[in-house]
């Protein structure tokens, strides 16, 4: 529990005057994401602690090095949770890294991504200036949304010092149904179920089974479960097994690359056909996120992320069109004119 903002700012100031590029590191739990870059580490791991937490306002503010697992613990004491339920990466993942890499869990289609719960943040830019954007209130449209711009920026715009997040009450009831159907059949069903008024917080297909998680008030969950079981024969999954399954999905543990294997991730239209991405896969987010292990790029025409493994010097994110690319470069320059932060981490050209 320490506020190292001044020290971090000092480090950025020094890097700026000596023109030394930096790589921002939290707990280093996500080093496998993005391209590998070598630069002087600037570490937020000790910059931790919950700055304020007001359960009745549904808002928590924490320093960027605070671990997701610690946030979850603090919230659980008041029966609250992070709506985007991000991976914890062996209890190491930090909130700063979660925002920068835009990590959300299985409930993403229904409860939103990090950006949907992010209310504000503190940032040190490439001028070594400390700035605050957004805030602690639910609605705020003063100035550009520099807060949400950080989601997925992979630290290219600056060092996030603290974040404010909107939290939600814990679900009162939770259950998981399993249905034995193949991939193609699952993809037929997923969008239909996903867009009904059901308390769904997860739809996955994995190894011949479709998993559907229902969470909310007890009566709503029970009502939904019996309704779905009438539509398609299935079974209730044991609560412990269900918890473990969704943990593995969230932690991205079901598919792990070995040797020269690569873990590929695709996000796209939930109704894209099963053939879109060949091979045995994990289908998550009701069809909108798909994961597959393969040595070579499994589909040429798809915007795939080379998520983990393989050559990390090459581009790992889908190619970007020239206009988007130009804007991202100009934005990078607007925040980090000397090219200090995580240069080349998301794209070789950024």
């Amino acid at each position: 529990m320490a506020d190292l903002t001044a020290q971090l700012r000092e480090q950025v100031q020094q890097a700026k005057s000596e023109q030394i590029p930096l790589q921002i590191i939290g707990a280093n739990s996500k080093s496998h994401l993005g391209r590998s870059v070598i630069a002087m580490p600037i570490n937020t791991a000790e910059h931790t602690g919950i700055i304020s937490y007001s359960p009745t306002e549904l808002v928590i503010r924490a320093r960027s090095g605070t671990k997701i697992s610690d946030l979850n613990l603090a919230l659980a004491e008041h029966d609250q949770r992070l709506p985007f339920d991000p991976p914890q990466y062996q209890m190491q993942g930090t909130i700063g890294g979660t925002v920068a890499t835009n990590q959300s869990g299985p409930a993403r289609p229904w409860f939103g991504a990090v950006k949907d719960s992010l209310l504000g943040l503190g940032l040190i830019n490439g001028y070594a200036q400390e700035m605050n954007f957004g805030g602690q209130v639910m609605k705020n449209v003063a100035g550009f949304d520099i807060t949400r711009l950080q989601c997925g920026a992979m630290g290219a715009l600056g060092l996030i010092t603290e974040v404010s997040i909107k939290v939600l009450p814990m679900f009162k009831a939770s259950l998981t149904l399993v249905f034995e159907i193949d991939q193609a059949a699952a993809l037929e069903i997923m969008p239909a179920w996903s867009n009904q008024n059901l308390p769904i917080t997860g739809i996955c297909h994995w190894q011949g089974m479709q998993y559907v998680r229902l969470q909310g008030g007890q009566s709503g969950v029970d009502e939904a479960a019996s309704g779905l079981l009438k539509q398609l024969p299935g079974a209730l999954l044991d609560a412990t097994l269900a918890k473990e399954f969704w943990r593995q999905v969230r932690e991205q543990e079901l598919l792990q690359p070995h040797g020269s294997q690569v873990l590929w991730r695709w996000t796209g239209a939930a109704d894209a056909s099963a053939e879109a991405l060949p091979g045995a896969q994990l289908i998550n987010w009701a069809g909108a996120e798909r994961w597959v292990l393969a040595e070579d790029r499994p589909a040429d025409n798809m915007a795939l992320v080379q998520y983990q493994g393989g050559d990390r010097q090459a581009e790992v994110n889908p190619a970007m069109d020239t206009h988007n690319r130009a804007l991202q470069i100009r934005l990078k320059h607007a925040f980090d004119p000397h090219g200090l932060f995580n240069v080349g981490r998301s794209y070789a050209w950024l």
Partner: protein
């Protein structure tokens, strides 16, 4: 009307060459309807108004403005409340209302692709046959456009549970000042790189012209239940709101009105509001029967615990609509009891509602101007309506001063100067209060990344360096 510059003469002839006669307005009389947005105290005629019909025309107009270095202001329906769409004296006003087509509704994935001039309500109406609707519903939804909603990141009474415009966007295509078409977001839920999709939301026409939007639609809830609770003091109502949310109940909507607003609304639409009440809460719950029943118990209990002296649970859709009608008509209702009113839009932490309302009533007495309060209580988003008479010398200035004090009060208690209406021209004076010079400079550099020549809606949203310096010397010296 300002003086046409030589650049401008070239621009006009280029516009005349490419646009049909009906798409180009040059005389004052025809341009008069466009001289202001919903905040009519700010008015300005542009040099020329263009109302294009095709994407290529939009691209060409921007290219020409860029070439001739002429300012351009985009406009939707002009319902904005911060003078964001007020024309530029030396510029082009680009009206996007001809882009009014719903291009596609994907029933299976519950998504819609629309042109920016589509009216907010028209989208929900078109989605109705599929059992779907578009959640962000500003009270101006009959008239305001989705393009305007994106530019302001608009909210509505249902944003408490379903989010603002930004939370319901999937993809936006925008024309840059260079005339290039660029698309942010995509078919999927996440795109690699910085989140430019979210950045465009709320960018007030300062970064580009939005030409196509894909949004998420939601399934209509099988049951919607509206209830109203009356209180004999605002503090109790404010506390009830904080307590309810604190208990983990997130209603679909939770609105509050104070005595003056209640009376004005009731006189106007006669829906049976208790006119002796000092505060009214209007709460909407949605979900399945079982869910709504469960919540209704908790909510009624909470309202009673905090001293509601009357609770009315709508028995049918008609009664529900009536309860909402009073709230939705609150602005025009206040318009009936005062020659002019000025709508503010600060957001505060919910726990501060009672404190801030008390402070507002003190300020109201100090300035001698009445204030009616209507607001999105669940989000802590206040809409104090300052009543004044512009025909009385000095009253507008008084109203603006009172408004400014309310906004700085919002910042002081940890909130913001605007929750959903945007900064526009109107809230420029408060920007340096909420943001430091470094932060404002960062905003300017961000804008320059999109608009290096400062042609897009200049003078709005983000104060210039000079403006900030003047502000600081005035307030620190």
């Amino acid at each position: 009307m300002g003086q046409p510059t030589p650049n401008f003469v070239d621009l006009i002839s280029a516009l005349q060459a490419m646009l049909p006669v009906a798409s180009l307005l040059v005389d004052d009389e025809n341009q008069r309807p466009f001289e202001c947005d919903g905040l009519a105290v700010y008015q300005q005629l542009p040099l020329v108004t263009v109302i294009p019909e095709t994407l290529l025309q939009v691209q060409e107009i921007l290219r020409l403005c860029c070439l001739h270095k002429v300012p351009l202001v985009p406009r939707g329906a002009g319902t904005g409340l911060c003078a964001g769409a007020m024309p530029h004296a030396h510029g082009v006003l680009l009206v996007m209302t001809k882009f009014d087509k719903i291009l596609h509704i994907n029933e299976r994935t519950a998504e819609a692709t629309v042109q920016p001039g589509v009216r907010n309500l028209a989208l929900s109406e078109a989605s109705e046959p599929y059992g779907l609707y578009y959640a962000p519903d500003p009270s101006s939804q009959i008239a305001c456009t989705i393009g305007g909603n994106v530019a302001e990141n608009s909210g509505g009474v249902h944003c408490l549970k379903y989010g603002l415009t930004v939370n319901n966007l999937l993809q936006v295509s925008m024309v840059t000042i260079e005339g290039e078409l660029v698309t942010f977001g995509g078919d999927g839920l996440d795109a690699a790189g910085m989140d430019l999709l979210s950045l465009v939301a709320g960018s007030e026409g300062l970064l580009g012209v939005v030409v196509e939007i894909k949004v998420k639609l939601l399934p209509r809830a099988p049951r919607v239940q509206v209830l109203m609770a009356a209180y004999s003091n605002v503090t109790a109502a404010g506390d009830a709101v904080a307590a309810l949310i604190g208990q983990g109940i997130i209603p679909a909507g939770l609105e509050m009105m104070d005595h003056l607003a209640i009376k004005a609304a009731e006189d106007f639409v006669k829906v049976g509001y208790p006119i002796d009440a000092q505060a009214l809460l209007i709460c909407e719950l949605d979900g399945t029967d079982a869910e709504v029943e469960e919540q209704l118990q908790t909510v009624s209990q909470c309202f009673t615990d905090y001293g509601a002296y009357q609770i009315r649970v709508a028995k049918d859709d008609q009664e529900a609509a009536a309860l909402w009608q009073g709230r939705k008509a609150a602005f025009p209702a206040v318009g009936r009891i005062s020659p002019d009113y000025y709508c503010m839009d600060g957001t505060i932490p919910r726990g501060q509602v009672a404190h801030v309302l008390t402070r507002i009533s003190e300020l109201s007495q100090h300035y001698g101007l009445a204030v009616a309060n209507v607001f999105h209580a669940g989000d802590g988003n206040l809409h104090p309506l300052i009543l004044f008479d512009a025909s009385i010398d000095g009253q507008l200035a008084q109203a603006e001063a009172l408004g400014g004090d309310i906004l700085t009060l919002c910042v002081d208690v940890g909130g913001t100067i605007t929750g959903e209406h945007g900064v526009g021209l109107e809230k420029m004076p408060q920007m340096p209060y909420q943001f430091s010079d470094a932060e404002l400079a960062q905003f300017r550099r961000l804008k320059a990344a999109f608009d290096p020549y400062e042609l897009l809606n200049p003078g709005k949203g983000i104060p210039t360096l000079k403006y900030c310096q003047e502000y600081r010397s005035l307030h620190n010296g």
